[in-house]
Symmetry: C2
Subunit: 216 residues, 2 copies
């Protein structure tokens, strides 16, 4: 996109993100923007979190997709409020889409809102939505060199979840080297290694969330 | 992106793609635009192809990345001409970038040109580059539901390479169901199952390429 056009779009987006922030603060909703490549496990991580926090934290979900409602249907089976956004081709969610989605969620009854972004390691990193925290997922089969190729996403993340660690024995992913590379560009991000298939490491992720939640 | 802005950008891009087509036709260069999510194995597939066609087909590569030159360095070790494009944040290659890159390639000595697009299942599908064929790679760990969530990429592909089939035993990927789903939206695409790690299926991929190459 031409730089000037992009700058204007981002500026309008940031104002709308601030407005979302105001709504969410007034309702006491903590928001995590979940980003990753396609197929890294965003929906699986959200589903695992809902199951582990059931009865303790009231969760809502906004599902962002180019098209289809597969993920929203999976999430709604967990009996939590979910709103589907279909971007109609756009490769990321923007704050205006979130603003309209918030109107359709029972915010008075939500403590924690997950926004599952469109699967894309590039553009979602540029569009603030009004979230409290940005979580990015990197799955083991994608390789430990992705930080060099898509640096912005790794720079802005508050937490980096390395998913599918059950596949570590079958790949060349070097968790230690990856963690060192992250520290080189992002000192603040927590790095958590999990498997949504085996459950390994998920308690650390749940602890990271609960320690960030505002006192109820 | 606003629909009208996007339409104008796409229209300018298509004209430039036609110009690239003219250059490539005049030089007898067959071009494959390789697209996938980050970490699906674009570079690995290109490297494996170079090794298998060495001495038979003269190959060149254009490497597209947000930043870094990791992949271009890997490719250049194979002693083939390679040009690195850094998009500076843009999430896809466009025809203008390719036009400038062509100036820096010895086209008279290239039969087959790979363009490795930015890792992204969304926007690259919309930007023609002047290629003969669009190849998309889906890796097994991404899951067999990606066709429903990112349909455009699967619709426009001339060949769909399912990579990392060595990981099939450790995932729930259903190759037969996936192939049926592809046939529902794209009857023309060849579907090839490969592993760049074990080499399984790569001969089918190489055959697909050589059968498409113009007579030298």
């Amino acid at each position: 996109m031409q730089a000037k056009v992009l700058k204007n779009i981002l500026s309008v987006n940031e104002e709308m993100a601030e407005r979302n922030r105001g709504v969410l603060d007034s309702k006491g909703v903590f928001v995590i923007n979940v980003m990753s490549s396609p197929g890294s496990g965003k929906t699986s991580l959200i589903l695992a979190t809902i199951r582990r926090l059931k009865g303790r934290v009231r969760i809502g979900v906004i599902e962002g997709d180019i098209s289809s409602s597969i993920d929203a249907e999976k999430v709604s089976q967990e009996q939590v409020p979910v709103v589907q956004i279909n971007t109609g081709g756009q490769c990321h969610l923007d704050a205006g889409m979130i603003n309209r989605a918030l109107d359709n969620l029972p915010l008075d009854n939500i403590d924690l809102l997950f926004i599952e972004n469109v699967g894309n390691l590039v553009c979602p990193a540029e569009f603030k939505l009004g979230e409290d925290k940005k979580a990015m997922i990197l799955s083991v089969p994608e390789g430990d060199d992705k930080i060099y190729k898509y640096p912005l996403m790794f720079t802005i993340a508050d937490v980096i979840v390395v998913n599918k660690i059950d596949l570590l024995p079958y790949t060349e992913f070097d968790l230690e080297a990856f963690s060192q590379a992250v520290k080189g560009i992002n000192q603040k991000a927590a790095i958590l290694a999990v498997s949504c298939t085996t459950g390994q490491g998920l308690e650390d992720w749940v602890s990271w969330i609960t320690s960030n939640l505002q006192p109820q």
